[in-house]
């Protein structure tokens, strides 16, 4: 049996498996910490969305999905520092996001819409990013089963993670760097969709409208709605 350790999160005593991540320990104990990119079944935490900041005594501000628990750990989710970092991360995420939610097919089922009130951020382009240029990027329609919309993708990397787990190698991956970073589908290179098993897991796991199912995958839309 795995060793158990005792810690406290917001003064609530919690027990967790040694080596488990703070985020998982909190969620198991029914304590909410915002998170987006976290995928329990992944080997390594991706740690990309930065929404899960907490403050840990002796460790400072850390991402809860990457930090392991340990005996006697004191975690606070509600410090001003952690809240500020979480909010900034979220604002950056929506800075270039197409926020015309009413016209979006994922309206009301979008993870961003659920996160915004929890983080106390309004779902409109933050004041500080208004001046930045916004251009509509072309959709990737090369895969018959799904469509990639870079204007609505927040680069959480969940589709990349799940595809790697499911297929051993990801058929969707990050390309370019910095501001130019996008996801790209293998089908945009091969043209012939020889590899994609059309399992639809990437579409199902996408928290936003970044990946849209196309005919044949429609059944999955209902599944995404249930979550």
């Amino acid at each position: 049996m795995t060793e158990r350790v005792k810690l406290t999160i917001d003064d609530i005593p919690v027990e967790a498996d040694k080596g488990a991540k703070i985020l998982q320990a909190a969620l198991d104990a029914g304590i909410y910490i915002p998170h987006l990119c976290y995928l329990p079944e992944a080997d390594l935490p991706f740690g990309g969305c930065r929404l899960c900041y907490v403050e840990v005594e002796g460790r400072g501000l850390v991402t809860a999905c990457t930090q392991p628990v340990s005996e006697g750990l004191v975690v606070r989710t509600d410090t001003p520092g952690a809240a500020r970092l979480r909010r900034t991360a979220f604002k950056l995420m929506i800075a270039y996001h197409d926020l015309d939610c009413r016209k979006c097919w994922k309206n009301k089922k979008c993870e961003l819409q659920k996160l915004a009130p929890k983080l106390k951020v309004k779902l409109k382009t933050p004041e500080e990013f208004r001046a930045l240029p916004t251009e509509q990027l072309p959709l990737d329609t090369t895969n018959p089963y799904l469509r990639y919309d870079p204007n609505r993708c927040v680069l959480c990397g969940k589709c990349v993670q799940i595809c790697t787990i499911r297929n051993g190698k990801s058929l969707i991956d990050f390309v370019n760097r910095g501001y130019e970073t996008r996801l790209a589908l293998s089908s945009s290179m091969t043209l012939i969709e020889e590899n994609c098993p059309s399992c639809g897991q990437c579409v199902a796991i996408c928290p936003t409208a970044g990946l849209e199912p196309q005919s044949g995958l429609e059944a999955l839309m209902d599944r995404t709605g249930e979550e």
Partner: protein, 178 residues
């Protein structure tokens, strides 16, 4: 797809096969392999990315993802006269961007592109170490100091006319001191 194009792809695949034979099927070899491919071809042909990915058991998009992260790798061939426009701080401050715009307009290509006749390719680089001459353009080995948009045409026309190797070397000698 034209036959000529196919033949070309086959040739590429053959060349890549030779390169790949020298490397283990191990993902950690990816960057060295890509470097070698670029050395041989001057860029990373799409076909090469596909061959490399199947050699390493990766998907083509994963390989492309890694390669596109680095400025070092390019996905279009170099032109006969590869143009590099400096966009380092000094060159940027004195109008490097305007020169770059002029180049794009004149050649009718984007950064990273190549003209249809294969004569010119265009890239932007960050500081080539002679900021005193800013804004600086480099074509092949030749440095063009204190560039301005109006001098773009002149430089390109001269190159098109004087494509003989002897004259080019002469030009190099004069200008390389920087």
């Amino acid at each position: 797809m034209t036959a000529a194009h196919l033949e070309n792809e086959e040739q590429i695949a053959e060349e890549i096969g030779k390169i790949l034979a020298q490397y283990e099927r191990d993902r950690s070899r990816l960057i060295p392999i890509l470097q070698r491919v670029q050395q041989v071809f001057g860029y990373l042909p799409r076909k090469a990315i596909q061959e490399v990915s199947s050699h390493l058991g990766m998907s083509d998009i994963q390989v492309h993802g890694v390669a596109s992260f680095y400025n070092h790798f390019r996905f279009t061939p170099l032109g006969k006269h590869p143009i590099q426009m400096c966009m380092g701080t000094a060159c940027h401050m004195v109008g490097g961007g305007l020169v770059l715009e002029a180049l794009k307009r004149t050649l009718d290509i984007e950064v990273g592109g190549i003209t249809e006749d294969g004569e010119f390719s265009l890239d932007r680089v960050a500081c080539i170490g002679c900021c005193g001459l800013a804004p600086v353009m480099v074509i092949g080995e030749k440095i063009y100091p204190k560039m301005s948009p109006s001098r773009v045409d002149e430089a390109l026309v001269n190159l098109k006319m004087t494509s003989s190797p002897a004259e080019q070397e002469e030009g190099e000698g004069e200008n390389r001191s920087g």
